[in-house]
Amino acid sequence: MREITLSQAVNEAIAEEMRRDPTVFLMGEDVAEAGTPFKVLSGLVEEFGTGRVIDTPISEPGFVGLAVGAAMTGARPIVDLMFGDFIYLVMDQLCNQAAKQHYMSGGKLTVPMVLRTNMGATRRSAAQHSQSLQALVAHIPGLKVAMPSSAYEAKGLMKTAIRDNNPVVIFEDKLMYQDRAPVPEEEYLIPFGVANVKREGSDITLIGTSSMVQVAEKAAEILAAEGISAEVIDPRTIVPLDEATLLDSVKKTSRAIVIDEGHQSYGVTAEIASRLNEKAFYHLDAPVLRMGAMDVPVPFSPALEDLTVPTPEQVAANARKLCAGELIHAA
């Protein structure tokens, strides 16, 4: 199968959906001629024109608000938010407006919009351009949240998001834009709420989101060399969350580590870990471990930044301990 970059995958998904459905349009800062700073959207304005690929002023709350209104009245906007860190600016439009319209109107209004943005540290972009803020939106009822872990997921989830009748937030890892993966030429969609078992195993379950899927896979390889069989699962969407697949795996392996690049405290790992603990408790041989990013603003200095994000070695080390029955926290 051909291999394309995550960036190309996103571009293809959007182009295909814009061809299919004339109500789909794109807006954001420097999305047209510049094709975004990461060049993910290059070529779209040439095909679809400035009417459907719209460069906006630097008005994140404003243009997300416009997207909500356009979505409520018959269009399907895709909004590009240049950095995930700017999601703070649009929280009101996203969480008070987009997320709640359908419910507040008793099901009469719908907001079919996609907010695509990014996450991920270790790019030397410092505290305001490196955050992974998926936990914030996952907490708000009415928003769906997708976290593609490769070009394949990026394309399939994006297409599903565009056709979904709800506001969907997609977090792409900005460090993965140039990563290649096999992506079929033929059209496909990836349904929301269906986790992907990336690797089967029997001793421990490693659940990773986005970039942390790769970290989990590398950890699994390290562990395999030592005779520990790790199952790696990518939930793909954290809302909806495919609890059943995760529980099945954990019931089988009886151990789990949850890895996510957002801050650990009050983050994504807490939700997944506590659901596993709650619902697979009697199958667990060890506590479910969580590995999020450190609870610190992301430091600029390379000497510090790399310390803040979970690595395959750390995951493997923790898995090793869990499998050996060692205590990780004082009992």
Partner: protein, 325 residues
């Protein structure tokens, strides 16, 4: 008064709609005072000429976005009393199945995209509706209602900029009733409100919001021009709310005087003024208007009675409508 709509049918409908709003609000207030309504609500009484003057210049295909003080907009855009009172009482037959309530009342069928409990919160939505019209080649116009207090929200400037850059068919209707909550507009708004729109290259008008014909006349002109791609526009409508900020705001003297309230009620009431005009122009008799008022009152009483008896949504609805299919 300015002449706007040319036939008496239109005039009478405008009169009737203003009376319907006032009557709706009187009933809503009574429901609150008699502890039959859950929560608080914000009365539109006094501002009727604004909603009616504007909405009577719109078709059902045109959209509006409304505010926390939204009953007037909802009625003016064509909503029924029954579904409205049901909504205010949290009943299943309400416009939003009782899930929205007063502050989120919406009426899709007439293009009312909904009240909003975030001050200024609907400015993006209104402008986005206009962007959609332009994008999909529709010729509808969207009116964004908001208060003087909402001009302090940065969102307004962000969306006006985009509306101006892209010539969107949106009309910003600032209902300047002199107060935001318990604070006078002068204390929270520097400079000039219309100049703020003009700075973005948006044509802005200040109009007497107690004169339904003046409002309607201006709106009709601006709507026609907006349909042709000459938008956006901005209107500042000078008006007044008779009640407190919300129904529970009873003792108001620390922020505004009874004299001031009396002056507006006695000398600038939009319904009294329009009524006098209709009668003096010979368009209708006092008796006919009284009959119309009485009919509206009966309608309202019936709707209230219906809503009081209506069923609450079933408990199974609590987690319905979080996501659309």
């Amino acid at each position: 008064m300015a002449k706007a709509k040319s036939n008496s049918e239109d005039y009478l409908r405008m009169y009737r709609q203003m009376v319907r709003i006032r009557t709706f609000e009187d009933n809503a207030n009574q429901l609150y005072l008699s502890a039959k309504m859950p929560g608080l609500t914000h009365m539109y009484s006094g501002e009727e000429a604004v909603a009616v003057g504007i909405c009577e210049a719109l078709t059902d295909a045109d959209r509006i976005t409304s505010t926390h003080r939204g009953h007037g907009h909802c009625v003016a855009k064509g909503a029924n009393f029954k579904e409205m009172f049901c909504e205010l009482l949290g009943k299943a037959e309400g416009y939003c199945r009782g899930k929205g309530g007063s502050m989120h009342i919406a009426d899709q069928s007439h293009g009312n995209l909904g009240a909003n409990a975030i001050v200024g919160g609907s400015m993006g939505i209104a402008t986005g509706s206009a962007l959609r019209a332009k994008l999909l080649g529709a010729d509808d116009v969207t009116v964004c209602f908001f208060g003087d207090g909402a001009t302090a929200q940065g969102l307004m400037y962000e969306v006006m900029n985009m509306a101006a850059l892209w010539h969107l068919p949106v009309i910003y209707a600032c209902e300047n009733n002199g107060y935001s909550e318990y604070t006078r507009t002068e204390e929270i708004a520097a400079g000039s409100i219309t100049a703020r729109a003009e700075a973005f290259g948006i044509e802005a008008h200040q109009v007497d919001g107690q004169d339904v014909l003046a409002v309607n006349d201006l709106t009709r002109k601006l709507v026609a021009r907006a349909r042709k791609g000459e938008g956006p526009f901005f209107m500042e409508l000078m008006t007044y709310r008779y009640h407190g900020h919300h129904v529970g705001d009873i003792n108001r003297e620390y922020y505004r005087s009874k004299d001031e309230e009396k002056d507006w009620r006695d000398n600038r009431d939009p319904i009294i003024r329009f009524r006098a005009y209709l009668v003096s122009e010979g368009i209708v008799t006092e008796e006919d208007l009284d009959a119309m008022n009485a009919e509206v009152e009966r309608d309202a009483a019936e709707a209230v009675a219906y809503a009081l008896d209506a069923a609450y949504p079933d408990v199974s609805e609590v987690d319905m409508h979080v996501f659309a299919a």
